[in-house]
Symmetry: C2
Subunit: 282 residues, 2 copies
């Protein structure tokens, strides 16, 4: 597993790096960003927060716009932001060039349908290959938290609910909580996973909540002026599922906020503290 460094920049006393590697899981080159707080230079193994971005994003959006490095440097948290899909000339994208499927829109599932199933295995990349890489190459412990935005909020919830032993904490901003029942999710799942909707349940946070016996507390922020709220995001479905399962959920509707990184930046500190508490070495 060799890593190519694309860039290194000093940031809040630590280092931001962009790196590229050949992923065996998604069978193409993948780029990711990692923020190493100042504590990383002491050599101790630090906890890691994985951040999954939303539709159309790359590894760069979160690092450039969320303002998370300031508090991560204080808390001694490593931040890791993967890309949102496999990419490259050999990776098929949306046949119509749409932005909500294919490149930039991997939906953090393991696709089962041709031609997607060869590369679109973002769940296994995020849950297995990437943490193994991070823990091998950086002073990173296996104390992992996961968070994300929109499609990436869906990804964070699903990765944590499917793999509760792999994560100590989870949170999300404006997540797609019920992709089985919204246009973005139905389009992506019908292509990546096929038309058998029963198979979709294992990739849907609301459905997974009904099945899991683990109780990983969820922190979710959602702006009430988010333009995707009613048709795509439907946080009330998550509340109903958590209530029905008796699963701990702090769902906060933030008045006046939209779907942008200004919303994320406004509340990222709360999420970092939520993760840091759970990730403290005990």
């Amino acid at each position: 597993m060799s890593l190519e460094t694309l860039g290194t920049q000093r940031c809040f006393g630590g280092w931001l790096q962009r790196l590229r590697h050949r992923s065996t899981t998604v069978d193409c080159d993948m780029t990711f960003a990692v923020y190493l707080p100042p504590q990383a230079e002491r050599g101790e193994k630090l906890p890691v927060l994985y951040w999954l971005s939303g539709l159309t994003c790359t590894d760069e959006n979160f690092m450039q716009k969320a303002g998370a490095q300031r508090l991560a440097a204080e808390l001694g948290l490593i931040l890791v932001a993967p890309d949102t899909s496999p990419r490259g000339p050999d990776v098929p994208g949306d046949p119509d060039g749409a932005w909500d499927f294919g490149h930039g829109a991997g939906f953090y599932v393991n696709a089962t349908q041709a031609p997607w199933s060869r590369h679109y295995r973002m769940h296994d990349y995020v849950v297995h290959e990437l943490p193994a890489l991070i823990e091998a190459h950086f002073p990173a412990s296996d104390r992992r938290g996961i968070s994300g935005h929109s499609m990436g909020g869906h990804g964070a919830l699903v990765c944590a609910l499917r793999n509760p032993r792999s994560y100590r904490s989870v949170s999300a901003f404006a997540p797609i909580v019920n992709p089985m029942r919204c246009p973005w999710g139905e389009k992506a799942f019908s292509r990546y996973l096929g038309e058998d909707r029963e198979h979709w349940r294992q990739w849907d946070a609301c459905a997974l909540l009904a099945d899991t016996t683990e109780r990983l507390p969820l922190l979710v922020d959602q702006g009430d002026k988010d333009g995707f709220l009613v048709e795509q995001l439907k946080p009330e479905a998550l509340r109903a599922a958590a209530n029905a399962a008796g699963h701990p959920l702090a769902l906060r509707l933030q008045p006046g906020y939209d779907h942008s990184y200004y919303f994320i930046a406004s509340f990222i500190d709360d999420h970092l503290r939520h993760h840091a508490r759970a990730l403290a070495d005990r």
Copy 2:
């Protein structure tokens, strides 16, 4: 003076707005961004920090990447970010399409040479027209600070040194301190201002320091791994000029930092506090 609102977004309990207006000074439509902290809703007049961005930037870079809104919301500071030049199909740009002159590269001077002199009057726009607009349309006092990055750091220093009664505080990140003696400045000044270099002195922070009798303390941060340090930025010239004039200067060389917004974000809080102290109502 009518203002067209292009966007309004909630951010750290306040509001970020993008606005467009017809500027009489630069004779074209101009877009700017303003961040109103939560205190603005109480109606009291708040101090304003003007931010001038660098080459190729627009009103958006600072608001998206510097992470300044968090502390501005706490301190009750309004932030205003103008564009970096006049723009539009009627505004001449660099004849060769270069990025260091013309559109996105107004250098905050009042051009005297055709064809630039009609639109490229960014100094008067920043110092006169924009504050008048801000103070007429928002709960903004005439307590003004000014800061900026690179070309915009040059702009902040020059605006403050030329108009010390208009600003209570000034700071800069990686400023072009001596444009008369660096390739970016020599290219821009020879076109905007003509070949008489004596005329350039009134637009050069180092030259202005020798002439001013006002003593507005300067805070300047400069990364020592900035790729433009040696050829373009030359902070030692500012130190020499400040020393010769007996002008207060805090020039901090920040080890390992480059020219990017990650550098700015890492130290923006220090600058905001520097300005807030000077802008406190007394």
